[in-house]
Symmetry: C2
Subunit: 559 residues, 2 copies
Amino acid sequence: MDSEQAMPSTSTTHLTPFKYSNRVLLKTILDRRDGGPELIGQRVLIGGWVKSSKEVMKHPPPPPPAADHGPGHEPEPKSDVSCVEILQSRIPFLRTIVKVLGGSSSNNPLRERLDAVFKPAPPSTAFLKVSDGSCAASLQVLVESSVVPPCQLLHTGTSITVEGVLQQSSVQGKNVIELKVDKVLHIGTVDYSKYPLSKKRVPIDKLRECFHIRARTTTVGSVMRIRSTLTFGAHTFCHNHGQKEEPQAIAEIEGVSLEAIKAAAKEKSSLVEELKRTDSNKEALAAAVQDLRKTNELASQLEAREKSKPKTSQKRDNVNFGPRFRADKGESPKHVPEMLMFEVEMAFTQLEEAMNCADDFFKFLCKWVLENCPEDMKFVTERIDRNRIDRLQSVISSSFERISYDEALNILNKVTDTKVETKLQWGAALTEEDLSHLSEEIYKKPVIVYNYPKAAKPFYVRLNDDGKTVAAFDMIVPKIGKLISGSQNEERIHILSTRIKDLGLPREQYEWYLDLRRHGTVKHSGFSLEFDLMVLFATGLTDVRDAIPFPRSYGKANF
Amino acid sequence: MDSEQAMPSTSTTHLTPFKYSNRVLLKTILDRRDGGPELIGQRVLIGGWVKSSKEVMKHPPPPPPAADHGPGHEPEPKSDVSCVEILQSRIPFLRTIVKVLGGSSSNNPLRERLDAVFKPAPPSTAFLKVSDGSCAASLQVLVESSVVPPCQLLHTGTSITVEGVLQQSSVQGKNVIELKVDKVLHIGTVDYSKYPLSKKRVPIDKLRECFHIRARTTTVGSVMRIRSTLTFGAHTFCHNHGQKEEPQAIAEIEGVSLEAIKAAAKEKSSLVEELKRTDSNKEALAAAVQDLRKTNELASQLEAREKSKPKTSQKRDNVNFGPRFRADKGESPKHVPEMLMFEVEMAFTQLEEAMNCADDFFKFLCKWVLENCPEDMKFVTERIDRNRIDRLQSVISSSFERISYDEALNILNKVTDTKVETKLQWGAALTEEDLSHLSEEIYKKPVIVYNYPKAAKPFYVRLNDDGKTVAAFDMIVPKIGKLISGSQNEERIHILSTRIKDLGLPREQYEWYLDLRRHGTVKHSGFSLEFDLMVLFATGLTDVRDAIPFPRSYGKANF
């Protein structure tokens, strides 16, 4: 770490501006245990956008008893900008018109009427809640009408750069300090008739219609800061354990081509329908049908290949952090076509060690986010799920249940649930519901299920001595489902070859993979964490599209 | 940081095994300033692969004067495994055959002849250099023939897990300690006739034929550790400055589709050629030609869109770390189709601040890698480029030259080089050669060129007051070329709209981008660092394919 480069500490009294602009990050003002009374009197320049506002007339009426607007937690009062205010800001210009029209004669009737409408605006103060995305809280900012007419500032979403002095809060409530502005350096106005966030509170699913704007809401802002903190936490965990990263993202080119090909298939299918509908010439239709058939064939072939693809395995302990594309077109709250995976591979380790590492990794991330994102965690707990902090803490302190597939089957078959009509037979895949039942109903904590029937897992997973099961595991987390999947991988070349043959996989494509066993093989294991689901777990959100800044979906890849 | 999770420190005397296996990472033994004499007498279990080896007979002849094999720097002596040794390891089995064939009679002639050939092997010691990928150095490992027959261990590439006691090195040289093995737990043999690294030294370009194996070489191992260190450094820089990450990799789906489509176009083109060649029926040929034409059209459309794509810009300071796919089919030592970009966007900043941040970022990475990867940096300096450490140090201490495009033009036009025949006219693009000339010949250090003619940069770069130039910059680094590109982006919606219109871009596709200006616009700037070129700069390599673990190239996306 380079101490010169370090962020301005929030524990010192003197505020240091962000190194690459002269503004002070609001985080350094607001994320203080005592609310920052020691900052009173300091002159600062800040930038941010208006989250909510009100205008208070100076006299009469006297300032209303102030409402308690906790930082970031307040309902957002609708900005109340009247037409009069906008006109008032134009008074000098209107006066000029009046002069031209009616001269300066004091008994001009038009002048009198206009004077009545546009009498000098009574002095007022704009109270703005301003956020800059650096923390969940917003700063109370006061701008007197003598500095800038309030109507220029009051709309939600207006961006400002302002300078002023921090003072004791003039209203009772959570805020200890506020900023009294004496200079406005920039106003970025809002076209408020079109602004997606001008309504009081936009439901989170509605926000999915404006990915490019939604990070300005307190909720999405907090979620994205938590996500960012988790990213750095994941890198830190690996760094602490001396695992080397392959920062090359592991976008599977073939998988992506498959995406493209499936999209093409969809288009071609529409074309066929269109041709049928419009009763076009038979040749064109026949050609289109033929084309569609080929495309579908290619897609199935690629899909089969994709499913059977082994993970890269090298000698060293490796970490991969990158996107995975899914061929599966179905979307669900837990899946979008592009998901981020964090993959760990460790040489000289076996199944149990991979499970231990996965266990530690998950706990580490929970602890990391609580320690490094306390304000945002408090916010999501208040706003999204009131059990969130407790759940993370219980993960950190609990020891996860570990049961074999056989035990899982026994337990599930003992459930005297009237809904379950038939017993599960050995070899049956465990459904999402089965797994959820184990972690949510039976153990009420994360559960690791290991030693699956070999047919349930890919060919490269290590065959156990029983010849029936393989050394794979899944970590199931309440409300999330499968968060981590891992395995000890087959290091014995003859068994690997047999598996490839038995499954009818094209051996020539796996020669490079077999090479790794042919030349100095070692036991090794690894796992992958579904990073986006980890964000769901940390925040209490239920839809992965709210946890990804710009989630891809079919037909939406523009950002 | 979680101290419990921390890596075993290399400064304590007691060696702690890696948390997820019982082996001690070689790094903890070898990366010690004093070479680790305080470790003598400790029992450890290690795992790794044989980098080089020799067998030394116990008596006669006496041990030869030992050669000085510095850690990781030694030429790799070819393993010398004779057929006799292999047979010797089978002696018990052969003796059984002899017994069966000739009984135990001592004057059986066959027995006598066999006894002459297979007389008990003279005792010997296998001296192995073992690496586990955790550091550049290898550990000297001694295995007596009484523990395991040497021929099982001597081949380069053999993997072993062994246990023993650390002792003072028995040969003079750089090594202070060595491991005397008393237990061999695992041997992963090598099919040495096929092993790509069994030759003494494989040139780095030859190693590109075996991406899955090459990380076992000391050079590629060092490069990948440096790469991994740079990744964590980049994350740390942003974390220190409070910049939030968008860990979602920014694979541009459209870009990828374009890849797929271009690949398809190539295939279709081959098909057309094939049909022409084989004189097939005209209908099939016509259909194929038509199909090819359509595909090419689609590719051009996508390509045009790709080129004009603006960067996502939000209010908060953002960081993106992900792959970028290039439509450009040409490969060069500095470009492969998938490159990793590190992108920074900062709200409330202008061009100069982006240049300052880029400047600091580059210096930070140079300092970080020298401090956190000293042994690997020493290795690449010895093996790849003997000026490497000096170059990095000079970057850290120098202040980079900053010149405007106009100044660059003047300077280049003053060059009285006979090769340059015509003067550069204002507006001319600066070629790679021009830029290299500035940083390598004229200033001999990194140079930032800024304020380019607007036609040279994308539409979203901010127009300067002169109406001719835009607020873009490139950082040019000796031997690398353009390492960082950045700009202040246009925050004024009317100018942005005009630029979109003037360039004939499809406005409806940019509405979301215009929204960000429509609703609370602010000045903002950013830059992107070509991460793979940063690895080239840190290591002194000249081909980017040697700096990426699994580089993609056309027709090679299988890993």
